[in-house]
Symmetry: C2
Subunit: 221 residues, 2 copies
Amino acid sequence: MSYRRTDNVIRRMAARQNAILKAARDAAAEGGMEAVQVMPVAERAGIAAGTVYRYFPSKTDLVAALVGVVAEQELSAMRRAASAAPGPLSALCASIVTFASRALRARRLVFALLAEPADPQVAALRQDFRKSIAAEFEARIATAMAYGHFPEQDTGRAAAALIGAVLEGLVGPLARPAADAATERDAVQTVTLLSLRALGVNDPRARGLVVQTALPPRDHA
Amino acid sequence: MSYRRTDNVIRRMAARQNAILKAARDAAAEGGMEAVQVMPVAERAGIAAGTVYRYFPSKTDLVAALVGVVAEQELSAMRRAASAAPGPLSALCASIVTFASRALRARRLVFALLAEPADPQVAALRQDFRKSIAAEFEARIATAMAYGHFPEQDTGRAAAALIGAVLEGLVGPLARPAADAATERDAVQTVTLLSLRALGVNDPRARGLVVQTALPPRDHA
DNA sequence: TAATTGAGTGAATCATAGTTCACTCCTTGT
DNA sequence: ACAAGGAGTGAACTATGATTCACTCAATTA
């Protein structure tokens, strides 16, 4: 005779799955990918190691899910910010600022998920994540370019370079950590300005654009 | 009674040490850091696994030596190119082009040594490598800035962002591989131009600068 | 309440990769 | 030619971390 899970059990299990994901995320945010190990993650989530395998077939699947969740959040934040902007150039600008400031907020996590290596399966997913972000940038760049805000150029290459510049300039191991919120905002502005100039934006209004764009609110799960 | 190594033996052993390093380098160039394993490296070098430990106390030391050698080569190439340039702006440009084109030549290797994670000891060395390159860029940027080629700005942040842009734009997993030498040259030019513009170089001569700078010759060991 | 299902457990197992070391045999010195 | 030293070997060992599975027990059903 089979056995029906009550709503209570379903809820508890869903919560537990989230707890595992959150534990994995926290681990990654603190110690990078190498800290995402089954036993420590299980401990953080308050369960036994074996239990993890009731929720995810393998560690790879767990990490894949983590990448998926984070990617979804980041992308939607970027899209939201861009679509709220009044024009193509400020949409691009909002995209960059959003990506940059969110990345800065969770430096270690973003770095781990975007740059640290993993097994081929996860690498492929990470690849998708990067590609989605690049595609987002590329679309904004193409639109702004069509509007004549900067000269014709290879939008794909430019999008990739922007991602690199922002990551390296803000979250990479080279970047010095920002002391306070003001310094943080300043760092984001610097990098955004650098990015826009790289595309060939000369309009002095650009500086205004960058400064106006506020930091988006936190919305990590 | 102690035993004197003849020149022959000394030479053979030096050659073998190089062979091990070369094997490690090739492995990294093909399969990234995770391919740098003692047994495969030993096999490539034509020796037994245990022999590696006669030349390097640990795998970490081997990788550290590898990073050191490559860093030395890259830095000296950048310096050579820059010091052969006629002025501060073209020196900066030469630096970027050299870094970019060499990185493009050995994409996987550079990416592995510059971006992939490793144990803390190696990470620290990699850090040094990045810092050296950043410092090289930063010095060129500062000089060109002092000469008024572009506006005042945070040179450190700019240097980091440039490295990121070049790496991501050319060697990162996002960059499409260049089909032929012409496409390669084109990619380097695109990224270099992007970099200079990011700094605020508006001088139309800049394009000339980029185009003029030839790809440096290969000189991998 | 008794029987049954399946979530949870965690010690045991497996897999991978770095490291050691007893041994072989070439090289050197007499 | 012979003895000694040390380079080279590679099977065995160690460490780490993922995965399994026989078992326990709370939740469900009859």
